[in-house]
């Protein structure tokens, strides 16, 4: 089935989540993610199978989502900025207890009210924000259509691999209204009861350990599991990368600009291409490294100060010598800026 619809990014998240099998949402109003809460409230009002709670804060939203997940329901939350900071309490617990926690984060800039529109400054928080090692799966959407598709997919990823799964959006994506083709996403991975309700064989899920060694053993298993799924979950789009001399690496909204920039640079006879990580944690390092291998110049472009480039260069250190950074923390990046940047560096 495919359907063309005029929708916003936040509406795409709600429709996608339904396709992914979501049945419960717990949230708190925060710009620019609020319409996800409102959209779900509207659906829930018509369909009593779709549970909804507007909680007292993002801490409670996160933990109430965990409660519903324990009962075997695909539950999720959506937040942004400082709400995302509070949410780390629940995400840290989910990470340690291997719970299929799902959140959509519409990134905004700065502390407190800051700017409510846009940034890519929540990448570190989504990936490593807790008191753990960041055993999470983080997707970054770069179009409304992709927001829809990934909003369905994150539930399957979380329930299949049992790591918290976060989808990054941003204020530009969340609020833009565009016509998109909504293809039916892949068949959702099924949910199951985590607390089994079997008195003869109770389920115990804890956060307390008798010794460092006991905890380390659990962590080692979780880390091994995480390493083993990297090749299965990591995704990357390669756009016109074959044999390029100038390779751009970007994720999210700037990657959409970068795609236009690649086309324009090619019109100007510059051999440019783009690799766009769809999972920003873990990264599909093989695809990035292979595209980067023959490139003479690499451009890492992000609306944050080295949050993305630091991870890319750490994971693929051989590119470090040829990297040029275009960093615009909390500001949008246009295709024109990228064309000018690449052209200038190339000279």
């Amino acid at each position: 089935m495919s359907d063309r619809k005029l929708i916003t990014g936040n509406e795409a998240v709600v429709f996608g989540a339904i396709e992914g099998g979501a049945e419960a949402f717990f949230g708190y109003p925060i710009t620019p993610a609020t319409e996800i809460l409102e959209g779900w409230a509207k659906l829930s009002d018509k369909n009593s199978n779709l549970k909804f709670l507007q909680a007292e804060d993002e801490i409670a939203s996160g933990f109430a989502a965990i409660g519903a997940i324990l009962a075997g329901t695909k539950a999720f939350t959506a937040t942004a900025g400082i709400g995302h900071v509070l949410m780390q309490d629940a995400i840290s617990m989910a990470e340690n207890q291997r719970l299929p926690f799902v959140a959509v984060v519409a990134q905004r800039g700065g502390p407190s009210t800051g700017t409510v529109n846009y940034s890519q400054q929540e990448l570190n928080l989504a990936s490593f924000g807790g008191n753990g090692d960041g055993l999470r799966i983080v997707y970054s959407a770069s179009s409304v259509e992709e927001l829809y598709y990934l909003s369905a997919k994150i539930f399957s990823t979380a329930w299949k691999y049992r790591f918290p799964t976060i989808l990054l959006s941003d204020g530009y994506l969340a609020k833009q209204k565009v016509t998109v083709k909504l293809s039916k996403p892949v068949k959702p991975f099924p949910e199951s009861k985590i607390l089994k309700e079997d008195i003869g064989n109770p389920t115990y899920i804890r956060n307390c350990y008798g010794s460092e060694e006991e905890f380390a053993k659990i962590l080692r298993k979780n880390i091994d599991d995480y390493k083993n799924i990297i090749s299965k979950v990591s995704e990357c789009e390669s756009y016109k990368t074959a044999g390029v001399t100038d390779l751009i690496i970007a994720h999210g909204s700037p990657a959409a600009s970068a795609k236009d920039a690649v086309d324009e640079l090619r019109e100007n006879k510059i051999s440019a291409g783009l690799v766009r990580p769809i999972t920003v944690r873990p990264l599909d390092c093989r695809t990035i490294a292979s595209a980067a291998k023959i490139a003479k110049r690499i451009y890492i472009i992000e609306s944050s100060f080295e949050q993305f480039s630091r991870t890319v260069i750490y994971k693929i250190p051989e590119i470090a010598g040829k990297v040029n950074l275009l960093l615009k923390p909390a500001e949008g990046i246009s295709a024109e800026e990228i064309v000018n940047f690449v052209t200038k560096v190339k000279k």
Binding site: A24, F26, K51, L53, A55, E56, D57, I59, A60, S61, G62, F63, A64, A65, I66, G67, A68, I69, L70, A71, G72, T73, A75, D89, A90, S92, M93, L195, K196, E197, D198, I199, G200, P202, T203, Y204, I205, R206, N207, C208
Partner: protein, 250 residues
């Protein structure tokens, strides 16, 4: 090591492998858990109950019962219980926590669960201190009580008097909610309060029982002194159902 051959009142419910339990000698929490188990058994709730616990001393009950048990973060057992109950409407869902979890770090969630009349049962152990971390001042610490962070005695003018949680919650809870205080000095009353709390939950209303308990380790008291202090607590914190919006006493 083979477990001693105890004669328990609720053998199906106790996870015998974990006995004797890990609570400090003389701790009141074992008494509360024992009576919780008896009430669950007597009311045929053992097959219906999900146990969500906080951190602090409550965490030592993570495998105490043959019940599905989740140990949450500090103050977060209430929202987890709310989320679980949202999906599993017929389960008897308990949030088990200390006074610090309920009245300090988790107060916001406790108040809103009561305000929304979420049908869960919150059991709060009040021992007037943060016990697991070594006996710091809690909201519930009595005026003039010495703790490691109220070294000359808690000064009510500086940090407030004894915190009356159930009376506070009563102010905003639904009229059909059941809000009560019990004490380990009166186990029969504790049983009655717990039973009423679960009945209230089954009728789709919020319930909460604060239980006054003893903490000999941090109070540095022997058995007799512990119960003397408990008697003092009962004068400040009246035991029984909190019927209406009474003004908290000093």
């Amino acid at each position: 090591m083979k477990s001693p051959d105890y004669n328990f009142a609720m053998p199906d419910l106790l996870n015998i492998k974990t006995k004797p339990s890990m609570f400090c000698p003389g701790c009141g929490e074992s008494i509360i858990l024992k009576h919780l188990g008896i009430v669950l058994k007597d009311n045929h709730l053992q097959n219906k109950t999900t146990f969500i616990i906080d951190i602090g001393c409550a965490l030592l009950s993570w495998n105490y019962f043959n019940l599905d048990t989740l140990q949450s973060h500090h103050g977060r057992s209430v929202p987890v219980a709310v989320g679980y109950k949202t999906i599993r409407e017929n389960r008897n869902v308990i949030a088990f926590m200390g006074d610090g979890g309920a009245y300090a770090i988790g107060l916001q969630s406790l108040l809103h669960a009561a305000f929304r009349n979420n049908p869960i049962t919150v059991i709060i152990v009040n021992n007037t201190d943060y016990a697991m971390t070594g006996g710091q001042m809690a909201p519930t610490t009595l005026s003039n009580e010495i703790t490691t962070t109220s070294v000359s005695g808690k000064d009510p003018k500086e940090v407030g008097p004894a915190f009356h949680g159930p009376e506070l919650v009563r102010q905003i809870a639904d009229k059909n909610a059941f809000i009560a205080r019990a004490s380990i000095s009166n186990p029969a009353l504790l049983d009655t309060m717990l039973k009423k709390a679960f009945k209230t939950q089954s009728e789709n209303n919020f319930s909460m029982v604060e239980v006054l308990s003893i903490c000999p380790t941090n109070w540095k008291t022997n058995a007799a002194e512990s119960f003397d202090f408990l008697a003092k607590m009962e004068k400040v914190y009246p035991v029984g159902e909190i019927i209406q919006n009474e003004k908290p006493s000093k």
